[in-house]
Assembly symmetry: C2
Homo-oligomer: 147 residues x 2
């Protein structure tokens, strides 16, 4: 479904959110530990996310990753997926048929479409903040982060 990289990206942003709620400004090593992912790989992902302005970073002493007022606005999972997987993620045929759309449906299009749409809506509804809140409330766990 989602690539491992996208999964890391979502969890990494949640880690930043949870850390900043505690007044921290995490670096990639902290994030990597939180989400149980390889440090350098997380560093690369954070570079992508900052390049796309989902959050900001500062180098040097006391540096790290954080959200600004702008970013503090909700980051939808949809945005993260769009950036990491590309826009075609939301339209390409789930069964690999070429030219599959409403006008030219593959044999599964009509039944699959609503499912994909439901998933898209989920990604358009949930945000990094909403995930973080669920975790803080103890309604959900986030692997190591919650331990």
């Amino acid at each position: 479904m989602l690539s491992k990289t996208t999964e890391y990206a979502i969890r990494a942003l949640v880690s930043v959110e949870l850390n900043s709620r505690k007044g921290q400004r995490p670096g990639f090593k902290t994030i990597a530990r939180d989400i149980d992912a390889p440090e350098q790989y997380v560093a690369k992902i954070m570079q992508t996310l900052t390049r796309f302005k989902l959050l900001k970073s500062v180098r040097g002493r006391g540096g790290g990753f954080f959200f600004t007022e702008d970013n503090q606005q909700d980051i939808f999972l949809y945005d993260v997926v769009w950036i990491m997987e590309g826009k075609t993620f939301f339209t390409r045929c789930g069964f690999g048929f070429k030219h599959c759309d409403a006008n030219n449906p593959c044999p599964l299009h009509n039944e699959y479409e609503p499912i994909r749409e439901a998933f898209t809506q989920l990604l358009k509804k949930e945000t990094i903040r909403s995930l973080a809140t669920k975790i803080e409330k103890g309604e959900a766990v986030l692997s190591r982060l919650s331990v």
Copy 2:
């Protein structure tokens, strides 16, 4: 979502079904042309599918791939996906969280579960035959196959 290999497998079986309805017994080259996939790669996939007894093959002159009385029974897409992707496909967390299930839900589990379940039900309902029939009826197109 599904790997390319699984997509090929589903389409390949549909190709066999459509061909046998025309009294043909296709070989891997015919199938590959039908579904627009690499010949040798299709050959490998057909080997897997026959090894798992989803259909039969005969070598030599006049050989090819076909369904027996046994296989003529509906092959559910679920079976194909199970074979090609493994059983964990239907249970693993869609967002990469460890230990995500009803008891230990990730922050998206409760909303994602019904979507995944709907997809699973689709795979448990649709069969190779049902796809082939839709294509024959002209209700759907199957890339090159339909041309």
